[in-house]
Subunit: 215 residues, 2 copies
Amino acid sequence: MKILIIGATGMAGSALVTEALGRGHQVTALARSTEKLAQLPTNDQLTTKVQDAFALTTADLTAYDAVIDAFATAPAQAYRHVDLATHLVAQLRDTTTPRLAFILGAGSLTTGTDHHLFVRDIEQDPQAAAFVSVPQNQLAELTFLRTVTNVNWVGVSPAANFHPGPAVPAIQGTDELLANAQGTSGTSAGTMAVAILDELTTPKHHQTRFTVADR
Amino acid sequence: MKILIIGATGMAGSALVTEALGRGHQVTALARSTEKLAQLPTNDQLTTKVQDAFALTTADLTAYDAVIDAFATAPAQAYRHVDLATHLVAQLRDTTTPRLAFILGAGSLTTGTDHHLFVRDIEQDPQAAAFVSVPQNQLAELTFLRTVTNVNWVGVSPAANFHPGPAVPAIQGTDELLANAQGTSGTSAGTMAVAILDELTTPKHHQTRFTVADR
């Protein structure tokens, strides 16, 4: 597959680049920093590109089989998660290719016996004040995506602690925050990358969101 | 006020142009057709502009005190209602001026003792099949807008029958489909124009939607 990875130098993006190259896909890694792109592994299947994702056109995007949105931004501009999703969707209305995969936060998952949004818990944590705008806007991003019926999109949420690290055996769910048998709710970037590449290779979720966690 | 009206030659847009000029505002009427723009009233406070609304930049928009989205499109491309709203919002993040006013459909209003969405009734009507995508997408548009907390927006829905005609005495509500004492649920383009210009002059609704109907 020809895969475009937006935000390719971040924690999730760089794990996706490695996983996709390992599977023999033709990868284009897009980011804002030439320096960070230069740190990606050298591979003749990898093309790096410094480009503003908000300037990607329909022609740019339809050159790929799949586009993965692993964009990250400063909490003060967390609304850009929403704006990039709306931009990508607007460019791809009434298409089925490329498949658009969005990495969403854990905040839009539900938890507890009353199935409340996990972001409501994050909002109660004073230590999260500096970055709570990110899960709030990733919830808005999913809310928007759920209204989109004519673009081939899928969303993936990690568990509570989205952390660097290689893939480990995983568990999957739909809209409920997952924890493993030890009660730990975490997803490594490697586990996320495997889940997304598996989904792109063998689509199981259509215009919906699923979640993956380390087992 | 300097007011930009998008979709200025349509039923709602042309009524807005007339009402705004009548109140002495400085109006820029934007549309895709030179011919239709030429049919608007001649007035030294009116500027007409043929421009793709999807190409409006932050600099274009911030030249106005208010921007009214009266965009209309063919049902097959009804998603463009959503895409224009997301485009305008993305250009105006973290601003308070211009105020953005969106004309939404009646489909996102609730009705009946169970407060179901009126669009669910429209979907049951075989005669509405040809245009039901419009209220469906205007509901998606409102769903998106409701996630937006850092742009100065307001939405206005008409009653069930949005029709041409001059302003008449009106009733207002929030999220419930309105009908008059005779049981008629209608809003004239003139009534809508008055409600929007009143709201822009004396803001009463902040980042929310209200509805207006002919009394």
